[in-house]
Subunit: 424 residues, 2 copies
């Protein structure tokens, strides 16, 4: 009995997961109004306690500076009154979204009279393992509570003081509502061991969602026995077809690379049909250069831009998340599709073309969570897709694929109503 | 790059998974008619080649007898002309089902004009690890092909000659159709090592579905890095409430236990409200005794049936799949729910009562894939739920929960149509 074995584990992760599991039983029975009141109370308490949160955050920042955190990491970690207000506003937006729990997905009356009703229910207890950003603590708690789930949060060490204070404030708010404060748990031990403990808590955690760098995600996928939703890795391509509109091609390619290079839906490799390349690639490469983008190119690309470095297979297989771009000229659509099959991470892939038939072929044949015709891959995002919120972007094919909104945090349960039916 | 690393693996599992992956690219593009023609051709070829299949099966049976397989295992392994006709008929039924691939699940036009269409697509390559029954080989191949998936089958050693012949026949049939024969792969090495190789083929396999005993499933869950859909374990309870109709209670309890004790949706533990027990339990226990069911009971049960053995916590935590039943008298509905939370495997749970309020409370509070009011748990089955087919019963909460029909073998893909949209 896995669950019974679990009750004897005494590490922090097991103890807190067990508390979350107990809280989840009542949480799943709450109605939408009760959950929304809790989200609003959390938002209010965060703003009221802003000074204490900023004080804890200052300690994290000080420690981070002593530990040599980069300026960009320090910026992601930093909280001020305006950022806290933004985080609180996020909770209010989650409250305003429709609650997926209870939605009837199937309803059938069988020939024997059995009435079969499949409804959305909470997953139960969700474990989230993430890195530095303290806003994830609040977002994840809010999304989980909205969907009736308890949550076990395990953030990174750099933000631990901020996270402890934030979770304290959230639980303080919940104490005044119908949601049990134990529904939000924070693992305070930020050693590797505490995260590793979480990976094996089958029966206590229903799913683990790792959010962070490729190393973290790979470690979780390779070691977890709890079901995992893999998120994040994005080697996204934009293919400029022979029949691409040159102005649109340039606009989409530049947006996909430089509008925010650090995120998973940004472009890492530009594939260009040789006919389009002959006419337009040199100019486009110059624009990238002006924008400060380092180019690593194939032989043909380097004929057009002798200042570019040479692209290796290792480059094509790298998610830079930076101002670096691979550029490869391909002889045809087929080779573009083959390149993506080899190097893509099945996240977001785009074709720019005025030829609808070639576009549809690309969209059907490329295997990815999101495939684009004539739009930037940067739109792969829960808000942009209209889900109103996002817990992450799934790069696996099970359960949820692509941006995960509230529905991705639910499971189903089948209610069967009979009047004495037995199986013959 | 996980996929590139994979191309260097040379074991049978990796080589065959790679062939399946290559086949899956074209398979996912076939239309419903082409896939149905392939299923019909497979059915026809199985019947035409029945003699060769029966001959191979005879060798398996002979080896099984020498290896001391039990009579019931030998029976599950055995094929004759009638069973082969039944298996072929199963393929024709799969052909007759609607194809979920291509179904539009979401369709939205965003304020910026982006048209976002989420459709069902095949998962890609499905690995199935199973034990003795050769009919699973055909069922699994049929369900996977219908949904546009390639499949890597890894059956048990006891059926290997039958499976090799069957897969040979299926591929022979596929050679005459639009489905590439490489879409169906059988691992011929039935050592533990070949199954273990499959568990780590991330990038080549999209999902693993283990079908078999608890030991097999646990091994796969604990060791796989490929996403797994856990199936099978069922410690199912029936709770006879104070307000149960006595005749209905008896009929449902007996059906849930003895109609087919060897399957996962059969009852393992009967919970009885003490008021109902005082009036009706002694008679019901006598009936179970007459039906050859061994009773393991709580103290109160043994007062009513002194011939019963004592039930331990280990018994409550055991899936017997046999003519053995735990019986426990409980003081109230709450204790029944608590017992199920402690010992249940979240498969199928039933309350028998005439009180609709108590029924709804049980259905909402018990955490299981299927919850029943006044019907036997034996109905948790893809056919009984109206799905027309079943690849297994998921006992996890991700992706699919409960009986898995064709839709459970699909993922989604979002097609985004723009006219130059970029993110600002």
């Amino acid at each position: 009995m896995l669950i019974d074995q679990m009750t004897t584990l005494s590490g922090e992760a097991a103890v807190k997961a067990r508390k979350a599991r107990e809280a989840s039983a009542s949480l799943g029975l709450l109605d939408e109004r009760q959950k929304n009141e809790a989200l609003m109370a959390m938002a209010e308490e965060l703003e009221r306690e802003h000074a204490a949160i900023i004080e804890a955050n200052r300690e994290d920042l000080e420690a981070g500076r002593q530990n040599g955190l980069s300026a960009s990491l320090l910026d992601r970690l930093a909280l001020d009154r305006k950022r806290i207000a933004g985080i609180a506003e996020g909770l209010r937006q989650i409250a305003a979204l429709p609650d997926p729990v209870g939605e009837v997905l199937e309803h059938a009356v069988r020939p024997n009279g059995l009435r079969i009703v499949k409804k959305r229910v909470p997953l139960g207890v969700i474990g989230i393992i993430y890195e530095a950003r303290p806003n994830v603590t609040v977002d994840a708690a809010g999304l989980c509570l909205k969907t009736g789930n308890a949550v076990v949060l395990r953030g990174g060490s750099a933000a631990i003081r901020s996270n402890m204070r934030i979770v304290g404030v959230l639980r303080q708010a919940l104490a005044k509502t119908a949601v049990p404060p134990e529904a939000v748990q924070l693992i305070e031990d930020t050693s590797r061991a505490s995260a590793d403990d979480m990976l094996k808590l089958n029966g206590l955690l229903d799913v683990l969602i790792p959010r962070g760098g490729a190393g973290l995600i790979r470690h979780v996928v390779e070691n977890a026995t709890v079901p995992v939703i893999e998120t994040g890795a994005g080697i996204c391509h934009t293919y400029l077809d022979e029949y691409a509109d040159p102005a649109m091609a340039e606009s989409i390619a530049i947006n996909a690379k430089v509008q925010r290079p650090s995120v998973c839906n940004a472009m890492e490799t530009l594939l260009v049909h040789e006919a389009f390349a002959a006419r337009h690639l040199a100019g486009l490469l110059d624009k990238f250069r002006e924008l400060g983008v380092e180019i690593r190119g194939c032989a043909r690309t380097r004929e057009l831009a002798p200042w570019a470095k040479e692209a290796t297979d290792a480059d094509y297989a790298t998610e830079y998340n930076d101002y670096i771009l691979n550029v490869r000229v391909v002889p045809d659509l087929e080779e573009a599709i083959r390149h993506i099959a080899r190097f893509g991470t099945k996240h977001s892939e785009c074709i720019v073309t005025e030829d609808a038939g070639r576009a549809e072929r690309f969209l059907c044949e490329v295997d990815a969570a999101a495939v684009y015709h004539n739009a930037s891959t940067r739109f792969t995002d829960g808000f942009e897709f209209g889900y109103g919120a996002e817990i992450g972007i799934s790069t696996q094919k099970l359960h949820a694929r692509g941006p995960m909104g509230l529905a991705a945090l639910t499971s189903t349960k089948t209610f069967v109503y009979g009047n004495g039916q037995i199986r013959t």
